[in-house]
């Protein structure tokens, strides 16, 4: 039996190979294997499951002889029982006795699911080779590992971030500087000019002290002062011009960077937003780009200028007096050592500070849009105290970072001052005793140069601070820039037209590995069908349509539209052909006209009016003072829920899609509004394949097919009459719904009477 080419989730460890060879006495080879990572007792260790045509072999240290053979014929039921952070493959035999076969973490749960499904299907008489395809597709999903470093990739064809060269990362940021290279080089030239200008005054000062003042030459003094004046005029004028262009270049860099991050954020998959808070994304686009911009300018400008100053000053100092120059170098190693030490110490502090800052942003992003809820529940005090708590956390971290960040520059400045004192002491003695050939003028101008020399030393020593801060920000920005965008395997592949046949084939999906959200979904919907999707809350109805909309792509199995795998269709084209009306439609801060035309910005005015008319929205819009020019507040404030819903339907009408999806579109409105919305829906769905997640009977009556979803599985599928005759879940739901509809009608009639009375 060869293990090299065996379908397995990870290479099979030698001990497992030996164990299975000892147990397996027949000559046939297993079809696939699952290598587990826990022992049955719950400790980390190797275990495995080898699946054959008619049996499976489980390997675990707790089995006598290292393993056990279980024949499919002896299995009455097999399933994966997911627990918390671990799962077991459970088998029930024909006598009702249950036992755990292998135990594993969530890392292995998906492949074990497909193993259980395989055994279930083969036992039910399905063809083993065909069923094996399901297993292969699970393994394919799982096998998205980098061949170089072995780490898991975001998708099977994604680049490995781990193996991506450092230069590529640098290029990612360098590309924002490139367009401004001309301006930056100009600024650099101006900086060098101002630096050269700055080197002149100390020399002239020395000359003044030694030659002009002792000789009491007033004419020479005026001449020297005029030279100094001219130097200062040039230096500060050029410096002002440079600052203007530098700011301009910096602003352009930051705008480009922000725009790119924002654009990238639009194409990130839903999974990214499931795990990342809005506040965190806003913080990255706003705060982190600013930190990075400042650092990029420091590196591209100041660092060069400071290096130039450093070399220039050292040269002049050496020319003036090499002995004093060496003395002034004494503090340099200590400054460099302190800089490195500080860098290491401050980096984790900045990271922690960033985390606390993001928490604050997250509260803001949560509470400001939710101010109505806060007021409704009078939870202002609670919200303030929560914000205060997080602010205190931030302050606590900031205090720790501030101690180090503030102490360091003072220590450096102190060391530098000590350097000046050494020069004063030794050079001063030379001047007093007349030894060493030093003059007062030389000492004065040397001290000035020494101060200029320590400035770049100080700059480079402190650079680690801004470097660490920029690194923390760059990491967060890279999190977005490097995140895998939505997959578009079928880019450019646009079928002539979408007729609207939809098929789900063996679809399994989970948001995280702790729970299967959809399991073994197999349905076929014909073009023009109106399909009601019903089920209890959390049954998986919305997930079903989310997969159809390609919000999540990492499911097992296939979803076909007109016989084509939806992953093979250009995603932009595909979504253009689907109209989606949500339960809580999202409106933007814009005019009503633009909100409707959002689905088709090139639409003619009359097309928009017509769409609004079909959606029963034209009436209420035309009664508004500003009609179609009415500016909506954030998220559509200023309109009722039913009005927003009708605008959302108008959007869908304008899009003219082949497939329509309604996610409980009438769930949150009264009967009268529902009637208006239903009318508009009726007009919209004609001739289009329509999926309606619905609770209300009025909506379901329009459906010619019903899907009943329960605990992630399709438990009933057929025409309403067929399902009613089955007297199953659908029948029960209809009964409950009829009762609640009646109750609602009575209540609404009572309310009407009261308000009339």
């Amino acid at each position: 039996m060869g293990f090299e080419n065996l379908l397995a989730n990870v290479p099979i460890p030698k001990e497992i190979q030996d164990a299975v060879l000892k147990i397996n006495t027949s000559v046939d080879s297993p079809l696939f294997a699952v290598v587990g990572d826990l022992s049955l007792s719950g400790n980390y260790g190797d275990s495995a499951l080898f699946v054959y045509n008619d049996r499976m072999i489980a390997v675990d240290e707790s089995y006598e002889g290292g393993g056990d053979v279980i024949l499919f014929d002896d299995i009455a039921d097999i399933k994966v029982k997911r627990m918390y952070g671990n799962a077991v493959l459970k088998v029930e035999d024909s006598h009702g006795a249950r036992r755990d076969i292998i135990r594993f973490t969530y890392s292995v749960a998906d492949v074990c699911d497909s193993a259980a499904l395989f055994i279930e299907k083969v036992k039910a008489g399905e063809d083993a080779e065909e069923t094996l395809e399901i297993v292969r597709s699970t393994y394919k999903n799982l096998r998205s590992f980098c061949p170089k470093c072995g780490r898991k990739l975001a998708s099977p064809d994604a680049d490995c971030l781990n193996c991506e060269g450092k230069s590529k990362i640098i290029n990612k940021f360098a590309k924002y500087i490139k367009p401004q290279v001309g301006t930056l080089l100009g600024c650099l030239f101006l900086s060098i000019f101002t630096t050269v200008m700055a080197l002149i005054p100390p020399y002239i000062t020395g000359y003044m002290v030694d030659k002009v003042l002792p000789n009491r030459d007033a004419q020479k003094l005026l001449f020297v002062i005029l030279i100094l004046f001219s130097v200062y005029i040039l230096q500060f004028t050029v410096s002002g011009i440079r600052a203007y262009f530098l700011r301009l270049a910096g602003d352009k860099i930051i705008i480009d960077l922000k725009s790119d991050i924002f654009a990238k954020a639009q194409y990130l998959p839903m999974r990214f937003y499931d795990k990342t808070s809005t506040g965190s994304v806003i913080n990255r686009i706003n705060g982190d780009t600013a930190v990075l911009q400042s650092f990029m300018l420091r590196i591209s400008q100041e660092a060069v200028v400071q290096a130039f100053t450093l070399v220039g000053v050292i040269c002049i100092m050496l020319l003036m007096d090499w002995r004093l120059t060496l003395l002034s170098l004494i503090p340099v190693p200590i400054v460099i050592f302190c800089g490195r030490y500080f860098g290491k110490k401050i980096a984790p502090m900045y990271r922690r500070l960033w985390r606390r800052g993001t928490s604050l942003y997250t509260i803001l992003a949560d509470t400001v849009p939710g101010i109505r809820v806060i007021k409704a529940f009078t939870s202002e005090k609670r919200t303030i105290s929560r914000f205060q708590r997080y602010s205190d956390d931030w302050l606590k971290e900031d205090k720790i970072a501030a101690k180090t960040a503030s102490a360091f520059p003072s220590i450096i400045t102190f060391l530098i001052t000590c350097g000046s004192l050494i020069i004063w002491f030794i050079g001063g003695n030379w001047v007093i005793t007349g030894s060493g050939g030093a003059t007062t003028g030389l000492l004065v101008s040397f001290i000035s140069y020494a101060a200029m020399f320590y400035a770049p030393v100080n700059f480079f020593a402190n650079l680690s601070d801004s470097y660490q801060s920029a690194l923390a920000s760059a990491e967060k920005i890279l999190d977005i820039i490097n995140a895998e965008p939505e997959n578009d395997f079928g880019k450019g592949n646009k079928p002539e037209r979408i007729k609207g046949k939809i098929e789900f084939c063996n679809v399994n999906f989970s948001f995280d590995r702790s729970k299967k959200t959809l399991e073994d979904i197999n349905i076929s919907i014909d073009p023009g069908d109106v399909v009601g999707i019903v089920g209890t809350t959390g049954a998986g109805k919305s997930t079903l349509v989310n997969l159809l909309l390609r919000y999540y792509d990492d499911y097992e199995g296939e979803i076909l539209v007109d016989g084509i795998n939806i992953k093979e269709i250009d995603s932009e084209f595909y979504r253009d052909n689907i109209g989606y009306v949500q339960q809580e439609p999202m409106m933007f801060r814009d005019t009503i006209f633009n909100n409707i035309a959002y689905s088709n910005p090139d639409a003619h005015v009359e097309q928009v009016l017509n769409a609004a008319d079909i959606a029963n929205a034209h009436g209420f819009i035309s009664r508004l003072p500003d009609s179609y020019d009415t500016m909506l507040g954030e998220r559509g404030t200023g309109l009722s829920g039913g009005e927003r819903q009708r605008l959302s339907i108008a959007r869908a009408v304008l899009k003219n899609p082949s497939i329509l999806v309604f996610d409980e579109a009438t769930a949150a409105v009264d009967s009268e509004t529902e009637h208006l919305i239903q009318e508009s829906i009726d007009r919209l769905i004609r001739g289009r394949t329509t999926l309606m997640i619905a609770h209300r009977l009025s909506t379901l009556r329009r459906a010619n097919k019903i899907i009943v979803v329960d605990k992630g599985r399709v438990v009933e599928f057929g025409t309403p009459d067929e399902l009613l005759a089955m007297k199953g879940k659908y029948h029960k739901l209809i009964q409950i719904q009829s009762m609640s509809d009646k109750a609602r009608e009575i209540k609404e009639a009572e309310n009407l009477e009261i308000s009339i009375g």
Binding site: Y44, N86, R352
Partner: protein, 163 residues
């Protein structure tokens, strides 16, 4: 809404059934078999409010506090919870390497040595107010550091930037 049945202590006897399932016998005579104990607060309240679910996921009763149960019943429930909730407790960080936002941790836990990946350390590592640190790896497995200050200095140094 049906009224919720709370278990306060000695009014029940809980005996083990299959694996993580238990049978609950009320002293009034009612016996419910094959119930699955699950924590209602798996992070913030480990021994309080344990729900008992039947095979359809319907709640049969809630134990207010495990500590109030009879010793044998308490032992049975704790064993089931221990079996169900696998949150290895990290006692040492052997290595923590990072390259371009993917962290590879090798840790020593109460269940042995294990290596796992963290894709996003910002959302995957959470510090609770009681000082515990919860970690979720790339496969949604959970880990816990009960007290960061009980770890050796090297482990602390490795983790500090992430919390």
């Amino acid at each position: 809404m049906t009224s919720r049945r709370y278990i306060d202590g000695s009014e029940v006897r809980i005996t083990p059934n299959d694996g993580i399932f238990v049978d609950v016998e009320f002293y009034g005579g009612l016996k419910i078999e094959m119930l699955e104990p699950k924590r209602l607060f798996p992070i913030s309240g480990l021994s309080k409010y344990i729900t008992l679910l039947d095979s359809d996921g319907n709640e049969a009763a809630i134990i207010r506090s495990v500590d109030s149960l009879l010793p044998d019943s308490k032992k049975t429930i704790l064993r089931c919870l221990e079996e169900y909730y696998m949150i290895p407790k990290i006692s040492r960080l052997i290595s923590r390497t990072e390259k371009f936002r993917i962290w590879l941790w090798t840790v020593e836990t109460d269940r042995g040595i294990h290596t796992f990946e963290i894709i996003n350390h910002i959302t995957s590592i959470k510090t609770l107010y009681d000082g515990r640190i919860l970690i979720k790896d790339a496969s949604d497995n959970r880990y816990e550091i009960p007290d960061i200050y009980a770890l050796d200095r090297r482990s602390q140094k490795l983790i500090m930037p992430d919390i």
